[in-house]
Symmetry: C2
Subunit: 330 residues, 2 copies
DNA sequence: CTGAAAGCGCTAACAC
DNA sequence: GTGTTAGCGCTTTCAG
């Protein structure tokens, strides 16, 4: 099948290509019968407008780029889902970029993004440097950041205040006299870790204490499980806080196997709740983070930034979490 | 910053735009000093070639579309990771489409894909109809299907033979005289289910038996857990087979709470292994499916199909699984 | 209400 | 080696 263009349709319908263009774009000014004539030609030829050519002519691609660390974590998946679902509503396409360590230079991604002339980019990335944002800004690409609070002429953000989350949570425990609180984490996500650290620190300081119970574990489940199995032979805390579900499970399994009863001997909480937390035994307490909404709202903010009218919009949107107590805390 | 084009660079470097085009595309024929001159102009102006315009001129977009059911399952995530990683090597962009139930019509996706003139599409979708493939084929879009075996002039596929997998597995058990085998599954993925069913049926028939132990459970963990908690009050099998990790865990938890010991009273196996299977207690036996590779190989097949030379390529690629025994089977 | 023509930014013959 | 020019397929004034 030969590539069929607007020109073929024009000939078939015996009108000019301008008219065809008008009916494609739903212009009001076309007379009913010529519209029908054109529609039929389109149908007959199986014509589909070339979005690339449209993009060139209109100087916009109706696609936005999404940068995530990697696609396989449940919450990144959810963010992608949310983002795509609302992108669909506004007819935007999503081109996905991952910043897999060792495989991709962030710079390369930014480079291809600029070349591809996307209308905007949504970034959910942990180690996100100001540099990258700057070059994007230089090329006037609107940005929405997921996870870090910030805003600017062309930057918006959607985030959860983890510092506050952990502060409030820890404060409760400290209030009850429980002060041996440990944070068990790899350093995969420095920005997040900083927030958690700050919040915890803050809570401790309010009680005249200092926080120094940070336990660094390996990045993968298996090795952290083994690591912790050793660790809990000689250590124990009143409360252990982890970030991801797999980390909480490593704690759970290794502690149990060292004879520690959860939650009686030690309480465990996982910041980023997931369905797997409810499948573990004991079920793990967590905070429901609105991951799907982070994506959805980010995309919504993006569409607003992309609209021409200068309606004032809120460029920093904080989403809230829901404490979800289960069996791993008292 | 004004949009800067190849023309600006040409003026700045005092050459024609053809020359600029040549250096952008690494043409050999440019003299060294003019190349440098142009490079400097590009640098100075911060010029980035417009991929849209290139796409128009070259009749190719260097982007391929990926269709998945939804992004949040671990294995879809892995497929995406694999696909993107190799796409990166060949400089392809990935635009991601999800077929979330109720939100998207498959037809709409196909429509936007055709309009966006991607160079190819990779489909990992369960309820994938021949219809959609046909319209894609009609517009001569090369296709690689993940998960179902098929091939054609413009269609390739990468898959795992689940029928064989389950056949071989079940045959072993039947050999030992274990015949009360149940398949516990929702009907989210009919194509997959059919394969499993066929394989199991086949194995049973080889022993002069028939398979009729299909137990349909709800699609979400929580409800299937509750469903099974009732079910195991009055039922019990020698071997239970599930598809996804969450289903296996629902079985595990509900069975345990009904006093069934795993694996002594009942063995459990999960077709699609995941890291969570190793976190459960008892740890769940499964089959490592090369999800990352499914994505990676699919993309590799795609690049081969896209190459001009008519090197004969294998368009049906079967990947293998690895049986991973853990504690939930004897 | 419809058509003619310029332009979006780039590539690829074809000249020179 | 480098420049000229004709597209790639579509949108959008500007006339009529």
């Amino acid at each position: 099948m030969k590539r069929i263009t607007i020109y073929d349709v024009a000939k078939e319908a015996d009108v000019s290509l301008a008219t065809v263009s008008r009916v494609i774009n739903g212009s009001e000014v076309v007379r009913e019968d010529t519209r029908i004539k054109v529609q039929e030609a389109i149908e007959k030829l199986g014509y589909k407008p070339n979005a690339i050519a449209q993009g060139l002519a209109l100087q916009k691609t109706t696609t936005i780029a999404l940068i995530v660390p990697e696609a396989s974590f449940f919450y990144t998946g959810q963010i992608i889902n949310g983002l795509i679902d609302v992108a669909k509503i506004y007819k935007y396409n999503i081109v996905l970029h991952t910043t897999t360590e060792g495989i991709t230079e962030m710079n390369d991604i930014i480079e291809t993004i600029i070349k591809s002339r996307v209308d905007g980019v949504v970034i959910f990335n942990d180690k996100l440097c100001k540099d990258e944002l700057n070059t994007l800004t230089r090329y006037q690409v609107p940005i929405v950041v997921i996870g870090n609070r910030m805003s600017d002429e062309t930057i918006g953000s959607v985030y959860v205040d983890y510092a506050k989350l952990i502060y409030e949570f820890a404060a409760q425990y400290l209030e009850k006299g429980i002060t041996d609180i440990a944070l068990i984490e790899d350093r995969k996500n420095p920005a997040m870790l900083k927030q958690l650290n700050d919040g915890l620190q803050h809570a401790m300081e309010d009680k005249g204490l200092t926080f120094d119970n940070f336990v660094e574990i390996p990045k993968e489940y298996r090795s952290s499980y083994l690591y912790l199995k050793e660790y809990f032979k000689t250590h124990k805390h009143q409360l252990v806080i982890t970030y991801r579900d797999s980390q909480a499970m490593a704690v759970l399994n290794s502690a149990k196997e060292n004879g520690l009863m959860i939650p009686d001997d030690m309480e465990v909480v996982c910041i980023l709740d997931s369905k797997y937390n409810a499948m573990a035994r004991p079920q793990i307490t967590g905070f429901k983070i609105p991951d799907y909404d982070l994506g959805a709202v980010a995309m919504r903010v993006m569409t607003k930034m992309l609209k021409e009218d200068d309606e004032v919009i809120d460029k920093e949107i904080e989403l809230s979490y829901i404490y979800t107590p289960r069996q791993s805390t008292k």
